[in-house]
């Protein structure tokens, strides 16, 4: 019984070629493109998600490089301000909604059934649907750039009224594409919750689950809680633009600041949506290569829950300069400082896990360690930003840009890469090439720091965000940043090479590819056959 799905047009022709090599022992009839269009297998859908997000990572990265190239030196050389604004906006939207979130969903698709001992996701056809919404959404989003008046140019935070009354005509399509992407993540989240809660191997209690599963469970709840709020906000925008309502329009009795409250009520939990699964990945990798149980497993779970709850109480720290009353400023300053505590607990736990371990430095470990260091640096600048009076100086400067890029690039993105290196042997049956991986790692680390560290200084010295040209005193910092960005961007080509080589061949990996790895996924052969755990595994709750 072939699942009945509307025919979709494949948007990345090349994608199937890359992943086509693996899992050829499929016995159901559809072949070629149809097979990928109709697949309901969690591993294939996981691969599709990962490839999609890699493509988006490069598209968003090219946009970032356009931005960095324009900022290479003072003056307007390559692009005009109008296009520059589209580049910064699209870079943000694509990286957040197209690269980081789908990458985590892809890892979840691949690994959660394997880690809980389930044969597939709970809702396989829904899984297929939620993936194929994504290419549609992003094709639509990218196509807005070709429409008259250009694509979205109001920043990824799309503050009203710049994004409503003063927006280009294509904004309606931007809203539509965001709706579709939002539905995709919601459906993905429902699927993940349903899988985790109902399909665990017999005997596996919640507290026996690997942390990646735990963090994703909490992330999925966050998604279910806040994606509808985003949908609500953009629906209000749509109504303001097309149906003459005045949610955010002062002229009609609305309030532009309301938009920011609603957006950040979604937006701050969204930040954690992009980092909690990263915590889970790192919490799997560090114990593996330290050959020592994760320190404070229970605390890690509790701290994740705590962060998730607190993330709903801090949104207005993005709005310290919009003119909030003093009481509100104090409230959000205090809650923001509080959230630093459970985050700190996690870092301490990782480091204590390393302490008196037996440590080796395989590629996944390198990325995980860099994550701990560089994410913590991002956390420090976050702590500084929490101090409301000082935020009056930091807000909307490159200091903020440095902060969230430290959290998202060597934070979320490095964790994703660590996860990919960690699980590639399971996916392909081969170890990734060590030499190339190390090149990728060191070039990335150097590139990331060259790009984002100087931004702290340019921000403190007074350079605002989202400007296409800048005063001369910022020139040196920007030059270094641009060179670093080029290095970082180029070094991701090495990553692609590693992945392709690893799919095609390389040193064979056994079922338990890493000596210290303990979770269920290492009990199935490498590469993981298309169908695993058709009969539930014997799960022995090993002491966490």
């Amino acid at each position: 019984m072939a699942p009945k799905l509307p025919p979709h047009h494949p948007l990345e022709q090349s994608t199937s070629a890359v992943a086509g090599g693996q899992a050829s022992a499929h016995h159901s009839p559809p072949r070629g493109i149809m097979r990928w269009l109709l697949t309901t297998n969690h591993k294939e859908i996981g691969s599709l998600y990962l490839i999609f997000s890699l493509v988006m990572f490069f598209i968003g990265g090219i946009f970032a490089l356009v931005v960095r190239a324009e900022l290479f030196q003072p003056g307007l050389q390559l692009v005009q301000p109008e296009f520059f604004n589209q580049m910064t906006t699209m870079h943000g939207l694509i990286m957040v909604f197209g690269a980081v979130m789908p990458a985590f969903t892809g890892l979840a698709n691949w690994m959660i059934p394997l880690q809980v001992g389930a044969p597939d996701m709970a809702l396989p056809r829904l899984n297929n649907f939620s993936f194929w919404l994504l290419p549609v959404a992003f094709a639509l989003l990218l196509s807005t750039m070709l429409m008259p008046g250009g694509g979205p140019n109001f920043g990824w935070t799309f503050y009203a009224p710049l994004s409503t009354t003063y927006a280009p005509p294509s904004t309606t399509f931007f809203i539509l594409s965001l709706h579709i992407a939002g539905i995709s993540s919601i459906l993905g989240a429902i699927n993940i919750v349903a899988t985790i809660l109902n399909m665990r191997a017999p005997g596996m209690r919640l507290m026996d689950m690997p942390l990646f599963v735990w963090t994703w469970l909490i992330t999925a709840f966050l998604l279910i809680a806040v994606m509808p709020v985003l949908a609500g906000v953009i629906t209000m925008m749509l109504m303001d633009i097309n149906f003459g309502t005045s949610f955010f329009n002062a002229a009609g009795g609305g309030d532009p600041v309301l938009f920011q409250h609603l957006f950040w009520f979604f937006g701050h939990p969204e930040v954690y949506i992009m980092i909690l699964p990263a915590f889970g990945i790192v919490s799997a990798i560090i114990p593996t290569f330290a050959r020592k149980r994760l320190f404070g497993y229970a605390s890690m779970v509790y701290a994740t829950a705590s962060i998730a709850v607190l993330s709903f109480l801090v949104w207005a720290h993005h709005m310290f300069v919009v003119g909030l009353p003093l009481v509100a400023e104090l409230f959000f300053m205090y809650t923001t400082m509080l959230i630093a505590v459970p985050t700190g607990v996690k870092v301490f736990n990782w480091i204590t896990t390393l302490f008196r371990g037996s440590i080796t430095f395989e590629p996944p470990m390198l990325f995980a360690l860099a994550f701990v260091v560089l994410f913590t640096i991002g956390g420090f600048s976050g702590l500084m930003l929490a101090i409301a009076p000082a935020d009056f100086q930091y807000h909307d400067t490159y200091f903020v840009v440095a902060h969230f890029h430290y959290v998202l690039v060597p934070g979320a993105v490095f964790a994703i890469m660590a996860g990919v290196y960690y699980w590639l042997p399971k996916w392909t049956g081969h170890y990734p090439n060590v030499k190339l991986s190390q090149w990728h790692f060191w070039l990335s680390v150097i590139g990331v720091n060259l790009t984002f560290f100087p931004m702290h200084f340019s921000g403190l010295a007074g350079m605002p965000r989202r400007i296409p040209d800048y005063a001369l005193q910022f020139a040196d910092f920007n030059l270094v940043s641009s060179l670093g960005a080029l290095l970082f961007g180029a070094s991701q080509l090495v990553f692609v090479a590693v992945v392709i080589l690893c799919v095609r061949g390389g040193e064979k990996a056994p079922a338990k590819a890493w000596e210290g790895a303990e979770d269920l996924e290492w009990s199935v052969p490498s590469p993981a056959p298309l169908h695993t755990f058709d009969t539930p595994p014997n799960f022995r709750p090993h002491e966490h």
Binding site: P81, R291, G357, T360, F361, V373, P389, A390, R466
Partner: protein, 372 residues
């Protein structure tokens, strides 16, 4: 693997050394107000707290990485829990943060106390300029970026204050408490001068408040910090802080100049005179959107050159200038330009770039339209 470690330590060292080597141009300015000094010291305190925590945490981490390498025969131990340690490392950061919250609260309260100001200034953000009104003093003017486009395009060498210079700076007295009332005409802007530690969003339809008391005379520069459309990067702020007597003299002079200008309304202006004035007004107010040659940037910014409706219909043309276009970047200039400027710029746009209507719009005519 030893090599990796050396590398990693090197990188960390680099990351830690750089902030230590911070020179002034690399750090937040101390500024010239009491509040800016307090903010700077909060910034430095929290920065050093982060550095200390960082040194401890990364110190332990790199010690572990170095000491417990398997290549050196490290055997993993099996501990995985210690409630005492966990409680300590939860409680200590909490205490540090409480300690940090106290001075931060005090500074914030100070920043929010705009009472007893001696001078009120209304700051209005507009795509893409600032307007300053000295409330109760009948002095008001627009402040536009004065960096020539040729410098931005690289056709001319860039000046010292590239992108941070304006035609009319906001002039303020030192040692007087000045209250800012801030709003915007179109989208949200944000008025920021780092040396004054004032950053406040200007929101259409709503007003925000902030205040400053400058301690030292001087020229302080800043920029718009909220993305506000195409020329967001090109709406700088310049504040000129004068000694009190100098400021009073300046204010009196501005009042007189405004009166002079008002008198100019009554007389008949020659076409050339209007054109000369109009070109200047166009250059500072209109050219950023409608472009130097009037070609515009459709669809957002319509062309003025060869615009048949403009050429045929003076009244339509004046209506657009005086009243603006709702929901677009075209503001109403009825309140922000004086009749002379409006007449001049109308005349210029009706006669430049081949729009040879020959119309000379008289200031008196504009004044009559706007009179109550």
């Amino acid at each position: 693997m030893r090599k990796s470690l050396v590398w990693m330590t090197g990188c960390l060292g680099f990351a830690l050394m750089v902030p230590l080597a911070m020179a002034n141009a690399w750090n937040m300015p101390v500024g010239v107000t009491d509040v800016s000094r307090e903010i700077h010291s909060l910034h430095m305190i929290i920065f050093w707290i982060c550095v200390v925590i960082g040194v401890v945490v990364f110190g332990v981490m790199f010690y572990s990485l170095f000491r417990f390498r398997r290549s050196q025969g490290a055997k993993a131990s099996n501990f995985h829990e210690n409630t005492t340690v966990e409680v300590i490392w939860t409680a200590v950061p909490l205490l540090i943060l409480v300690g940090m919250a106290i001075p931060a609260t005090a500074t914030l309260k100070k920043m929010y106390d705009a009472s007893d100001a001696e001078l009120d200034i209304m700051i209005t953000g507009q795509q893409w300029r600032w307007r300053y009104e000295y409330l109760g003093e009948d002095v008001a003017f627009n402040s536009n970026m004065s960096t020539p486009r040729a410098q931005i395009q690289g056709d001319e060498p860039r000046g010292e204050h590239y992108l941070l210079e304006v035609d009319e700076p906001l002039v303020l007295p030192v040692n007087r408490k000045v209250r800012f009332l801030m709003t915007a005409d179109d989208v949200i802007h944000s008025w920021w001068v780092p040396d004054l530690a004032v950053k406040q969003d200007t929101i259409p339809g709503f007003i925000n408040e902030n205040w400053v008391r400058i301690n030292e005379p001087g020229i302080y520069r800043g920029q718009c910090t909220e993305l506000c459309g195409m020329d967001h990067g090109f709406m700088p702020i310049v504040v000129e802080a004068l000694e009190e007597e100098e400021f009073d003299a300046w204010l009196a002079e501005r009042k007189e100049a405004a009166e002079q200008e008002a008198m100019g309304v009554d007389r008949e202006w020659e076409l050339e005179e209007l054109m000369e004035r109009g070109e200047a007004v166009y250059g500072s107010i209109c050219a950023s959107c409608h472009q130097a040659e009037g070609q515009g940037a459709p669809p957002a910014f319509p062309a003025l050159a060869d615009n048949q409706q403009l050429i045929d219909d003076l009244d339509w043309h004046l209506d657009k200038i005086l009243n603006g276009v709702s929901g677009s970047a075209m503001p109403a200039f009825r309140g922000t330009l004086n009749p002379v400027e409006i007449a001049a710029v109308t005349t210029w746009t009706r006669n430049a770039w081949g729009n040879d209507t020959g119309d000379a719009v008289q200031p008196a005519e504009i004044a009559e339209r706007l009179s109550d």
